[in-house]
Each structure stands twice: as C-alpha cells, then as structure tokens.
C-alpha cells in the first residue's frame, strides 16, 4: 500500500487546479452574488472533458476512474464548491444513471451529448414531502397506450431550470411500494414539463436549484429508464457513488479553507507578530489539516473501492459523513482565523462558510449517512 497517484492523475490535478485558479477564482463572487449559473465556464469545462469524466470514449467521455473523478471535484471545490456541485450532479447523478441503466438508444441520444457537455443534466428524486425518505415519492406515472403520463412536482433539482435533460422518478405502480417507483428521462421543452420556483440559497449559489413540475407530461414508452419498478433501487445505487462526489467537494472545500487560513495567518500581524505564531492559531491549523487529510483518504478509499467494483455503500457513507462534518468545522475555524475580515466578502472563507453546509445535507443528510453506516454494522433487520 503506497497511497500514490498515477502520473496521469497528477497531471489532472495540476490542470484542474490551474483552470480553477485562473478561470473560476476571479469570478466566483460575481456568480455567487448574482446567483448566476456560469454557462461560459461550463463550455470550458466541456472542452476540457470534465462533463463526461466517467464514461468510456465510445460514449464521448474521457473514460477515467472514480479516483480521477474525485481528483477533479476536489480541485474545483478547492476554489468553488458550487461549480463542483454542478459538475458532480451532471456527471455522477444524471449522466451516470443513463450510463448504468439506459438502453443503447438512450445512451446514443442523451449520454453522448451529456458527456460532450452539449446537454446539461438534472437528476430529480427529492419531492416536497419526500426528502430523506425518498420512498415517499408521490409523483405519478400512468401508462396510457404507448405513453407514460407524469403528474407531480419535484424540489431541489440541481439544474432544474437550466437542464436539457432530466432523470425524474415517479410512482408507476402504487401497490408495489418502493418497487413501484420508476425512472424516466424527460427532455427540455416536453409539453407539461417545466421548472418551477428557483431556490434563493444560503450557498452553492452558482449551482442552480429549482422545482420541476410535471403537469400531464406525456412521454413515450422509450422514456422509461431502467426496468419498470426498479427506479428507486437504481437511485440508491447511483447515490452510493454520488455520495463519494459530495465527500470530494467537502475535502476540496476543507483544503481551500486551510489554504486561505494558512496564508492569512502568516501575513496578519497582531501584538507585533504574525498570528501564525500564536499557539492557539497553530493548533487550529494543525487540527484542520489533520481532519482534511483523514477525510481525503476516506474519500479516495471509497473511490478506489468503487473502481474495483466493490460494494461502496458503507465506505461512501463514512466518507461523506466525515468529510461533510469536518469541512463545516474547517470553514468555521477558517472564518475565526480571519477574524472580522473572514466575516466579509473580501476574503474567500466567507463563501466557503456558506457553501460547505450543503455537504451535510445534499445526497443524504449526515443523519441518513449514520443510518446507512449503522445498518451495515448491525444488519438491516436488527437496526430496525
């Protein structure tokens, strides 16, 4: 065991870091304040291949590993969590669901343009009354001849209003409980399908989040994604991988916090010396670095298990739980180290403080991760 990365991985890390620092960093505050989805940045991300990281070249992807994928997200989140979140939702939720469970025709029609970054993807499971308990999905899908007719509404869909294609979950068989939920691919401009309210958020503001409304939305039978009734089961599998990406965002943001805190502490002087010379500040930095490192290796281990096609449920949940929690702590400490300046938009830690909170909520709250971990420790039945 030598914890080393391939030469290509190191090159990816360098490139993403350079791109993020040169092209994203100067504009993050603008996107944040205007709550603007950065289309131009997305076009550049597409050129670099970052919108089809995981999919093989025959589907116009870069064909990289999950470890490489984590590296990309970590590098983006170190500068801006919200662009990293959008990249994650596009890659490992929407596109990956189509890649894993779609027909060849669906892959041809949707996955390829998604991987090339010509389409932006959304993946929408959460509903107003079905959050942590996604099995409580209420959106209906009724078979009518060769069509499905969808009715209901989704909430918190990343890219809800900017997406070209959305994967949406709906109850196709009310009697069958969790086994009665199916996934559908809906393209933009389908009649009866529209975005509702755009959320005005605390953080991750460059990543657009909206309601999706299906009002007698009629889609052909070929819109069914995966087997009928398997939508929920498939969604859980997709989320296992998705959670690793939220862990990667958390790790990246924790590193960003550490980076800015270090440089600030070295340069800010009080009582005639840099505050980095006060042991209280040193201990904050040491703890922040240690936790970030621990989170990082939990995350890379989960990614590496996934690359080996092993079950990652528990490892991904641990990575997400721990990374999310320590990243929130890191941002808190980073603002503390910056004092009053950290409370202003003149320093990047203010934004980290707001953005990072998503990591303990999205793709399963910290509590839900603990449930997943406990169930795998105790056994599902005994855990209750």
């Amino acid at each position: 065991m030598d914890f080393s990365f391939t030469v290509e991985n190191q090159e990816i890390r360098r490139t993403v870091r350079e791109f993020a620092e040169r092209e994203i960093a100067p504009r993050v505050l603008h996107f944040d304040e205007k709550q603007e989805f950065p289309r131009a940045i997305f076009r550049s991300l597409a050129e670099l291949g970052l919108l089809g990281i995981l999919f093989p070249p025959e589907y116009d992807g870069a064909g990289l590993s999950y470890v490489d994928y984590v590296t990309v997200l970590e590098g983006l989140a170190r500068v801006d969590g919200s662009i990293a979140l959008s990249v994650a939702a596009h890659n490992s939720l929407c596109s990956n669901h189509i890649y894993k469970f779609g027909t060849e025709e669906q892959k041809e029609r949707y996955l390829k343009p998604l991987a090339r970054g010509e389409f932006i993807g959304a993946w929408s499971l959460t509903e107003p009354t079905a959050g942590s308990d996604a099995s409580g999905t209420k959106t209906q899908a009724k078979r009518e001849g060769d069509n499905w007719v969808l009715n209901g509404s989704k909430t918190f869909a990343t890219h809800g209003s900017v997406c070209d294609v959305a994967v949406v979950f709906a109850v196709s068989d009310r009697q069958a409980g969790k086994k009665g939920i199916s996934a559908f691919i809906i393209a933009k401009n389908t009649e009866g399908f529209r975005a509702g309210k755009k959320e005005n958020k605390l953080g991750m503001r460059a990543s657009e989040t909206s309601e999706l409304i299906m009002d007698d939305c009629r889609v052909p039978a070929e819109a069914l994604l995966g087997q009928e009734g398997q939508g929920f089961v498939n969604a859980l599998q997709i989320l296992d991988g998705g959670r690793i990406s939220i862990a990667a965002l958390a790790v990246g943001m924790a590193q960003g916090c550490l980076h800015h805190s270090l440089s600030y502490a070295r340069q800010r002087e009080q009582f005639n010396r840099p505050i980095a010379q006060f042991q209280a500040v040193q201990f904050m930095l040491a703890d922040m670095a240690t936790r970030a490192e621990a989170a990082r290796w939990l995350t890379y281990r989960a990614a590496s298990l996934k690359d080996q096609d092993q079950d990652v449920g528990c490892a991904a949940a641990m990575a997400k739980l721990y990374s999310g929690e320590i990243a929130v702590q890191a941002a808190n400490v980073a603002v503390q180290i910056h004092g009053g300046y950290g409370f202003t938009k003149d320093y990047p830690v203010e934004k980290f403080y707001r953005d990072v909170k998503l990591c303990t909520i999205g793709e399963g709250t910290s509590e839900i991760q603990r449930l997943v971990i406990a169930r795998s420790l105790i056994g599902r039945r005994s855990a209750g």
Binding site: E8, E11, I12, T15, E18, F19, S44, G49, A62, G63
Partner: protein
C-alpha cells in the same frame, strides 16, 4: 511541417523564493515547478499551427533534471507529439552558452522547419539561449514575437520593439521566440492527458548527445553563479496626515528631501 519547441521548467512565478544554504541556488521545498510561461506561448503557437495543418509534428525538448519530465508530460497532454529530456549530472550548472551548445547537439541529425522558444526563461531572465542557437546554426532569428504567420517555406513575424512593432519576413527554418500576447495557451483536456500516457519521453545524456563533460555544465560555461541574494525588504510605508493642503506640502518636502526625486 516539423516544429521543435524548447521548454524549461521554472518555479511558479507566485513562489515565495527561499535561498538554499549554499547561497547560490533555490531551496526547492514547497516550490511548485511549471513550464516557463513564455515557453507555453511558444508551445501553444506550435499546437495552433498543428490544428490548422494536422500533418505538423510538434516535438518538445527540455534540458533539465528528473522533475522536468512533468513539464514535458504537460506539453504532451496539451497536444505535442513527442518529447525529449536532455538529462545528465554533467549538465548541471550549464550557463546560457553551454545550454545552447547542448540544444544544438540535440538537433544534430534532426530535421525541422521551425524552432520555437519563449522570449526568456523567468528566473534567470537572460534571454540568450535562443539567439545563441540561431547563431550556431546560422538561422534567421525573430525575437519577442506577438504574431506569426507561416506560408509555405516562409514566415512573417510581428515583433515588439521599443515603442513600435516590426514586421519581419524570413525563410524557414528559423528561430522564433514568443512574447505574451502571441496567443492564449490552452489547458490540457482529460483526453489529452490520457493520450499522453502512450507518448514516450526520450531521455538523452551527454554520451547520446556526443558531448564531452568538459563542454557542458560548469566546466563548459563562461559564467558561474557565485551568489544569490534576495532583494532588500521594502521599508514600511509612510502615511501623510492632515488636511489636503498640508498633505501636499509635506509630500513635496518628502519628495525633495528624502526621496530626492524633485
């Protein structure tokens, strides 16, 4: 068309420079090494020529230590076709003259139409190697170029000179050095990075270059670094207080008496 781009690995310009205990080199801990920014413009220019004419072959050559492979790999990931690292213990300490000698040796038996360099290497900033190579090979040289057009066997280069631009028209093969503004270097794409995996980096030492140890390195150099020192720390600023009229008065007094600028 065959283009050779010479690239040097240098400390990132954002690096906080710390001197090594020997007093004549850098402490490399925590230093992030990158492709010399001007060389990136040179490489991008070569890649743009290749974009327009896919038959173009772009080779990057670097004289450096082991870690310079990273710079070469980045160049391959951006789209260069081949890379050569000139690496030998004996090459350490080569000055501009010795470096040019090594590069000329590396070009022996190699066919090319264009040699591209950055206008200077940040760090030492001597800007000599390219001119020395051109001189040794008897080739036309266009330096500090902000626009380059290739047409058949000739090139037209626009170069920055004091207060004006000069247009040069010359025959290939030739040496051209890149200035900021020539182009906007691309980022390597994920596909480019993966494709670079299959492109080998050729490593050549003095023996392979047909050079004797006394022709290169410190013994083959006319100049030697005796000592490096950091610029003196800047004195603390001085804030002038009071109403605008007395501030202006005080400023003029300081400019005259302290700064002796008036």
């Amino acid at each position: 068309m065959k283009i050779i781009v010479f690239i040097k690995q240098v400390p990132d310009t954002a690096t906080k420079i710390v001197l090594a205990p020997d007093g004549k080199s850098l402490d490399e801990t925590n230093v992030n090494f990158v492709i010399n920014p001007y060389d990136e413009f040179a490489l991008e220019e070569a890649l743009q020529i290749k974009d327009r004419d896919p038959l173009t072959q772009v080779t990057v050559i670097s004289l450096g230590v082991e870690r310079a492979q990273n710079a070469l790999r980045s160049a391959l990931a951006m789209g260069a076709d081949g890379a050569v690292l000139l690496k030998d213990e004996a090459l350490l300490g080569s000055d501009a003259g010795a470096t040019a000698r090594v590069l000329v040796a590396a070009l022996k038996d190699v066919s090319f139409d264009l040699l591209l360099f950055g206008k200077q290497g940040v760090g030492l900033d001597q800007g000599q190697v390219d001119i020395r190579v051109a001189e040794a090979l008897g080739l036309p040289h266009a330096g500090v170029v902000v626009k380059l057009e290739i047409d058949g066997g000739r090139a037209v280069a626009e170069r920055e000179i004091e207060g004006a631009h000069e247009i040069m028209n010359f025959a290939l093969p030739a040496v051209v050095t890149a200035q900021k503004g020539l182009n906007e270097p691309r980022y390597a794409s994920l596909k480019g990075i993966m494709a670079a995996k299959k492109k080998p980096i050729e490593i050549r030492d003095c023996a392979a270059l047909g050079l004797r140890a006394d022709q290169v390195g410190e013994s083959g150099s006319l100049t030697r670094i005796k000592k490096l020192s950091l610029p003196p720390a800047r004195k603390e600023g001085h804030k002038i207080e009071g109403d605008p009229a007395s501030q202006a008065k005080e400023l003029i007094r300081l400019l005259r008496e302290e700064a002796k600028a008036l």
